[in-house]
Amino acid sequence: MDANLGRNLVGVISFPGSNGDHDALHAFSHDLGVPSRLVDYRETDLSRFSALVVPGGFSYGDYLRCGAIARFAPVIEPLREFAARGGPVLGICNGFQVLTEAHLLPGALLRNATLRFHCHWTHIRTEQTQTAWTSDLTVGQVVRLPIAHGEGAYFADDATLAHLHDTGRIVARYCKPDGTVDAAANPNGSIDNIAAIANHAGNVVGLMPHPERATDQSIGGDDGLLLLRSVVSYLNVPA
């Protein structure tokens, strides 16, 4: 284990209905050897954490809208303050939906255009590496990750989308294995094939695919480690 990793503590927030929390915990603690623990949704002291993950699943049963109820959990205001101080936050799948509902990221995730729940491998093209969660990647790098969602079609109005483009906040887009971004590679009808976006500072990223479920060749691939390891590199760069 890299000695640098020992300084950090990654928190994975568990809401009622989260189901990707243990996968994310395992990815950090087992696959990357980074100290990590689950954070109960009622916790309010996040001061010990270096990075936080809002995991996938069906928080609060997806009642009302995906992520709409989780935004009222006690952990969210401290999470908002953590993000405002520049702390790295990754929202995966339902976690991405929670971050948009909590207005930590712009836009929203709509029902898949196919009206089907999509559960399969996808490829995404890295568009922005100046974020806490993609700093180990290179622009154009294709990463193979699974998706598992029914409501993952990213949507933002024209002005917001233009702003995301202009400020380099589109982090990854669905693509073919060779990196071509086209309609055929878009699994869910996301506007502009968007799979991941970041906030202005790049410390908060929302991502529909699941890096925590691609951490070992024995489960089909380990490209997810490239993203999750990025945050460790990001944290270890002297400010």
Partner: protein, 106 residues
């Protein structure tokens, strides 16, 4: 008219049944509405050219009058019932609750 205690001011206020409808905003992809439209057309209803599906909320609100109940419900819709990024809402109706029993329309 049924009245309840409003904890904030302690006055006894009339209660109102407020019905809120939330639908996808125009311009936002609505694959569900399109699928419903396709279903209606395949049943032979060729006169239908648009279908939207949304959500219906029935709220019981204590307020001084109907306008205040409507304003309260609008704020609730803006903050929670609808996501203004992708959805619009309208207050379908505001009616006084005259019975002490829970409205059956719920």
């Amino acid at each position: 008219m049924t009245v309840v205690e409003r904890p904030s001011d302690g006055h006894r206020l009339p209660r109102w049944l407020v019905e809120v409808v939330v639908v996808p905003k125009l311009g936002v992809n609505d694959p569900e509405g399109e699928a419903i439209l396709g279903g209606l057309r395949s049943l032979g209803y060729t006169e239908v050219d648009r279908a939207q599906s949304g959500r219906f909320f029935s709220l019981t609100v204590a307020a001084e009058d109907a306008d205040r109940a409507r304003e309260d419900a609008s704020r609730m819709a803006n903050q929670l019932l609808a996501n203004p990024v992708i959805q619009s809402f309208r207050i379908q109706s505001v009616s006084p609750i005259s019975s002490i029993t829970t409205p059956t329309t719920l």
